[in-house]
Amino acid sequence: MSGKTTTTTNNIAQARRTVQQLRIEASIERIKVSKASADLMLYCEEHAKKDPLLMGIPASENPFKDKKTCILL
């Protein structure tokens, strides 16, 4: 058998795998961007108050922010 036939067989096998994969990916159920976006917005809204970097939290509650008073020992 010539090498050319083997290559052709491999290419066909590869193409079959690609088509199979694309079929799997194409078959998933999709929702509309409007719905997806609305859900992202809702999540942000629901969790905003508990987001320290978004809300900014007082220095006294953030271990990384410097507290104003220092005590000299």
């Binding site: 994969q21 799997i24 990916e25 998933i28 999709r30 929702i31 509309k32 961007v33 409007s34 719905k35 997806a36 976006s37 609305a38 859900d39 992202l40 917005m41 999540y43 942000c44 629901e46 969790h47 905003a48 508990k50 987001d51 320290p52 970097l53 978004l54 900014g56 939290i57 953030n62 271990p63 990384f64 922010k65 410097d66």
Partner: protein, 334 residues
């Protein structure tokens, strides 16, 4: 016609392709003041990767010079340090228990080091080789326990390993080139993870079957970083094409691009704030841009690093984020 899945805020006459269109009426964010609160100095060369411990305080970082350091970010003290037998330690991760770290790079492996609190700890002696790839290790992450590690490699594959035995549990084939990054879905959303690579693709995988379930190819260059949105319904990516993008998994498409004409250098690493409203992205032009995820606008630009920002993670409780850079330092911002 009545379509119960269609959210109609008076927008049904327009075709909607992006989040910012739906979020038109969302209030814009005000000014942000974020500053460097701590600088972690000690690496002798480029910082390539970092990860937070679940205790929201400790950090592991790895460097081009082969050193892996565990820091207490509150005090900036170094608690542990080990020198790897290879240079370019491109990946490191903290175990969920806080009792071990994983790392690897040009050695093509991912190794786990238990952390002890002995006085003269010899970390190198307790090293356990877990993963073996045929090219460099680019990323690693423990799953929800210390027992399994997920890896990504320059050999184009990702793999799931049992830490105790070193056994390969599942491999993930599909990327057409080096895989550069991965992120595990938040535990509530099930057993999937997303990976990004030099083939410009982001791929979502089923961890049990090894199957790629979704793929996205809209970037124009390598994807350096991927991170799930906190709800698990979307993920962000950062790329050498100088953009960050948001992909929604249920809509199965890109839903936002975060870019500006003035930003021409690649984005190396991205992470969300706790609510998902902010996206922090580190760039090769030494800056960190903060994006309003919903409105698509940049809300802040942070200067401080003196070389490329290579890695960036928000702390587990969202109070701060850490960036690592080729300038040898890590910075904590809040």
């Amino acid at each position: 016609h009545h379509d119960p899945t269609h959210f109609d805020g008076g927008l049904s006459n327009r075709q909607l392709f992006a989040v910012h269109q739906v979020a038109e009426r969302v209030e814009a964010l005000g000014q942000f003041v974020m500053k460097t609160r701590r600088t972690l100095k000690g690496h002798g060369n480029k910082v390539l990767c970092m990860d937070w411990c679940k205790d929201k305080r400790r950090i592991v970082s790895s460097s081009q010079d082969g050193k892996v350091i565990v820091w207490d970010s509150f005090t900036t003290n170094k608690e542990h340090a080990v020198t790897m037998p290879c240079t370019w330690v491109m990946a490191c991760a903290y175990a969920p228990s806080g009792c071990a770290i994983a790392c690897g790079g040009l050695d093509n492996k991912c190794s786990v080091y238990p952390l002890t609190f002995e006085k003269n700890e010899n970390m190198a002696a307790k090293k356990k080789s877990v993963a073996m790839h045929t090219n460099y290790l680019s990323a690693c992450s423990f799953t929800n326990s210390d027992m399994q590690i997920l890896t990504a490699s320059g050999d184009g594959t990702c793999a799931l390993w049992d830490v105790e035995s070193g056994q390969l549990l599942q491999s993930f084939h599909g990327h057409g080139a080096d895989v550069l990054c991965l992120d595990l879905a938040p535990s509530e959303t099930g057993n999937t993870f997303v990976s990004g690579g030099c083939d410009k693709k982001a791929m979502v995988w089923d961890m049990r079957s090894g199957q790629c379930v979704q793929s996205f190819e809209t970037h124009d260059s390598d994807i350096n970083s991927v991170r799930y949105y906190p709800s698990g319904d979307a993920f962000a990516s950062g790329s050498d094409d100088a953009t960050c993008r948001l992909y929604d998994l249920r809509a199965d498409r890109e839903v936002a691009i975060y870019s500006k004409e003035s930003i021409i250098f690649g984005a190396s690493s991205v992470d969300f704030s706790l609510s998902g409203r902010l996206l922090f992205a580190g760039y090769n032009d030494y800056t960190i841009n903060v994006w309003d995820v919903l409105k698509g606008a940049r809300v802040s630009i942070l200067f401080g690093h003196e070389n490329r920002v290579s890695t960036l993670r928000v702390s587990p409780d969202g109070t701060a984020f850490c960036s690592g850079s080729w300038d040898h330092t890590l910075r904590i911002w809040a």
